[in-house]
Symmetry: C2
Subunit: 521 residues, 2 copies
């Protein structure tokens, strides 16, 4: 099955049903399909050739959904770009990913001007606003002026690259995760079988659509002929309005969003009873906060766990498995990220590669048709990640007698702040570029709003004169804002190290996490 088959099935069964509900505009599946085919023709008319790479940098909208399907219909593998990256990070990705055309949300015009000169490979920039500007192609005009592309411009194989999704890398440079048609279609199937989506569902795309944590629902909800609704960028009010207006039944949120909704004074004024499932994931959420959310929205929350490299779903809870008034074991289960989704083999293994016993700690590894082809142009890192045919997630977990999985730590040195992955090494590299820094370690510390906040422990060079503010500002010039330290601690003794000289971050974290579990997914 290809992505196009998902769309054509929905068009065949639900031609006149709302596919996309965005603000005041609604498109039926027939109309959405026609827009996709017109846009595909328009992009090819610009001179793009099937197989060329394109990218999108935009907030959520029905156009984002369209772009995901255009990748298949026009034969143009798509890189969805993290909207929070700094200009020079985007520059790196656009060059590394050999991007020929960029679909650009109006809200990113300014950042685009910063890297424009440094991305000479980009031949076309398509503005998604419906506004015409010199030097840019207008998305809506492409649609209006092109005849729908019929048939196939490219012989797709299920193993061909469809999406190139950049994630932060432990080496400090973003890596392009290569996802094939089979990867994303399989994940959609796994999701439908596991969560039981149907044509009665309306999904709210409010988590950023560049991230697979939400993007997979573009495919899964279309597969069953459900309706998609959109919030361009999260605000509590915008989200609640959309839920009420479109009678949203299901969505995925990051815990930070859930916190905002729970604490928003107007929440009770909105009718959110249509919701029957709120998935959450991508960052830690304590049982206390979960219970607070349940008091506001009802027992509709289920944790899911995955990663870009696995398209993304690996595990999920089900409502039937969430027991709120049970014994200690049941209460503990509320913090589980669930069990393997159908179609994926998820294991927790020790260093020898054997399954751990219940309660023991090990690394999560996974095998299935959803596991990436590899990292773009990085054969060595690909081979490492996919040893023995399993994706090695680097996430550390326990598993219980009934195969519920509990994430306890991340082997990869990563902080999750507000749902975003921050690789410590990237932040450390930025700090090391400051002449006053002798040694630095970046760790995550508990934060009520963001799950974790980025903290830098810095040993300054002898005689250097430097302030916290100065170092944070220095970082802002180099990396995305969400990656910059929220605070900096100075010390003049060397950082604690292991025998072979590796900085012992566990030691540094200890005072901040005393009495808490750093439970993360």
């Amino acid at each position: 099955m290809l992505l196009r088959d998902i769309l054509s099935h929905a068009v065949k069964l639900y031609p006149d049903k709302p596919a996309l509900a965005d603000g005041d505009g609604t498109f039926t599946y027939r109309q959405a399909d026609e827009r996709v085919r017109r846009l595909a023709a328009g992009l090819l008319n610009l001179g793009l050739k099937p197989g060329d790479h394109i990218a999108i940098l935009a907030n959520n909208s029905h156009r984002y959904w369209e772009t995901y399907f255009v990748a298949d219909i026009a034969g143009l593998p798509l890189a969805p770009l993290n909207i929070r990256l700094a200009a020079h990070e985007l520059e790196f990705i656009l060059n590394d990913g050999e991007i020929k055309a960029l679909l650009l949300g109006m809200e990113f015009l300014e950042i685009y001007q910063q890297f424009r000169e440094k991305t000479p490979g980009i031949e076309h920039v398509i503005l998604m606003s419906g506004e015409t500007r010199d030097g840019f192609v207008d998305y809506e005009r492409l649609i209006a002026e092109s005849d729908p592309l019929q048939g196939s411009v490219r012989e797709w194989s299920e193993d061909d690259l469809l999406n190139l999704c950049y994630t932060g890398g432990t080496t400090g440079l973003p890596k392009g995760v290569m996802l094939s048609q089979r990867n994303v279609v399989s994940n959609a199937i796994h999701a439908v079988v596991t969560f039981g989506f149907s044509d009665r569902d309306t999904w709210l795309h409010v988590a950023p659509m560049f991230h697979l944590a939400d993007a997979w629902a573009c495919y899964a909800i279309t597969m069953v002929g459900g309706t998609h609704s959109f919030v361009s960028a999260f605000t509590p009010q915008g989200t609640l309005e959309a839920i009420e207006r479109h009678r949203v039944t299901k969505t995925i949120l990051v815990p930070t969003m859930i916190n905002f909704l729970v604490n928003f004074p107007g929440t009770a004024k909105y009718n959110t009873t249509s919701l029957d499932l709120i998935l959450f994931g991508a960052s830690p959420m304590s049982t206390d906060r979960l219970l607070a959310a349940v008091r506001v929205f009802g027992p509709k929350f289920c944790q899911a766990y995955g990663m870009t490299e696995t398209s993304p779903l690996l595990t999920g809870m089900k409502l039937d498995w969430m027991c709120y008034d049970g014994n200690e074991n049941d209460m503990r289960r509320l913090s589980s990220c669930g069990r393997q989704v159908a179609g994926v083999d998820v294991r927790v293994v020790n260093e020898g590669g054997d399954d751990v016993k219940p309660g023991e700690v090990g690394e999560i590894i996974a095998r299935g048709p959803n596991v990436m082809k590899g990292y773009w142009k990085r054969p060595k890192e690909t081979a490492e990640a996919l040893q023995g045919g399993y994706m090695h997630t680097g996430d550390v977990a326990t598993i219980d007698q009934e195969n519920f999985i509990y994430i306890v730590d991340r082997a990869k040195d990563m902080i999750i702040s507000g749902g975003e992955n921050v690789y410590s090494v990237e932040v450390e590299n930025a700090l090391y570029e400051h002449p006053a820094v002798l040694e630095v370690a970046v760790i995550g510390v508990p934060d009520a709003n963001w799950g974790e906040a980025v903290l830098a422990v810095v040993v300054p060079k002898e005689g250097a004169n430097i302030t916290e503010h100065e170092l944070i500002e220095h970082c802002h010039g180099l990396i995305a804002g969400y990656k910059c330290p929220k605070s900096v601690i100075f010390q003049d003794t060397p950082l604690p190290k292991s025998g072979p000289g590796k900085i012992l971050k566990t030691e540094l974290r200890k005072p901040y996490w005393e009495g808490r579990e750093r439970k993360v997914n």
Copy 2:
């Protein structure tokens, strides 16, 4: 995904949940898995080699379910045999299919004795009763005395032959439909996505499990961790008792069974409220009879359509699409077999291969990962059936604006009587073996109980003296009872023929079908 992955997923998520509920016995998924692995080891210990073909001839039971999974675990492709066939038909299949071992229900011991001498390739016969007999292997003893097979004895590819399912052939000889791992696993996925099965479901296997019309549910219900319950052979009382006892939620019935249940005087005494979906298919059912069934069981009926060659599902109705108090169009839709299931491309095409317009008549063709590998040792018939990458069903249908499909006739000369396919040519061949028959045509005529009944129109040789009873008896010696004519009409004028000399069965059928539509699936 392989069949074993479906089972191991269920064992991982639902180890202690009832998998199989059969009479008084219940096995959890862990226990069922262990039984399958013990049986697999036992079969291999007999001397069977991975890749050898095995067959099963038995009524429904949890052991039938086990045998389907053993095929994968032991690496032994399985031929499930039609329990209604005559001895010499079974003989043909067992030899043609190169069967090395036969799993035999006690109830088929007598018929086995009839073909025993003529099937020398069968090295082992496993009696499924739990009874020990000289010359036979005991199924339960194999399980009790073998250690569970761990790991893999065979490197399966998704395209390897898993099931060899014989169907009647238009040439008069049964053909072995080769289904691969991919075929049956894909069909299970299509079913779950389309019908929304979940771990809350309990399925009743009451339609014969040798037939894919029910067998696919062995895979689909296991995929979601549901429970399987069994009725060994249909009776109204046995079926109703099982529904009440096991709180059955879903099943598939042939219309003949539905008629029996509707007319059974004791039906109202049983609690059948747990049922939420009754699929039906495999033979015609008028809207009047459907409405009668709805009055007894509620609006829980949905027609499905498929064939062995497509593992089997091609189309299905959904409860939401069944409108009982609507306009003429809605009422007409009650007779539809639904729309293509997710994952399959189903089209109705004219002789040029183009999609027909709504209301026009054409042949149903289908493409998808569920379409068979081909017919065993019949490359010519395989190539014909799979022209252009589509399975040519031979079934004639119309399709409406919203892609609902209505089957109107079968291009292949076939009668469906009580859910069983009767190929006219087989019956005609049997009749032609009688010395008194000059010319014969076999057709289906309306029958309140069986949907259609088999009628033979015979032109006797000049001076021949022959009775209806004699001809029917003659057939009983040659073909399965359900294929034998229910009645014979004699005429002494030649049968009506087309220009090229083809018998015009439409002419012969006309008086019987006057004022009715021969609507069949």
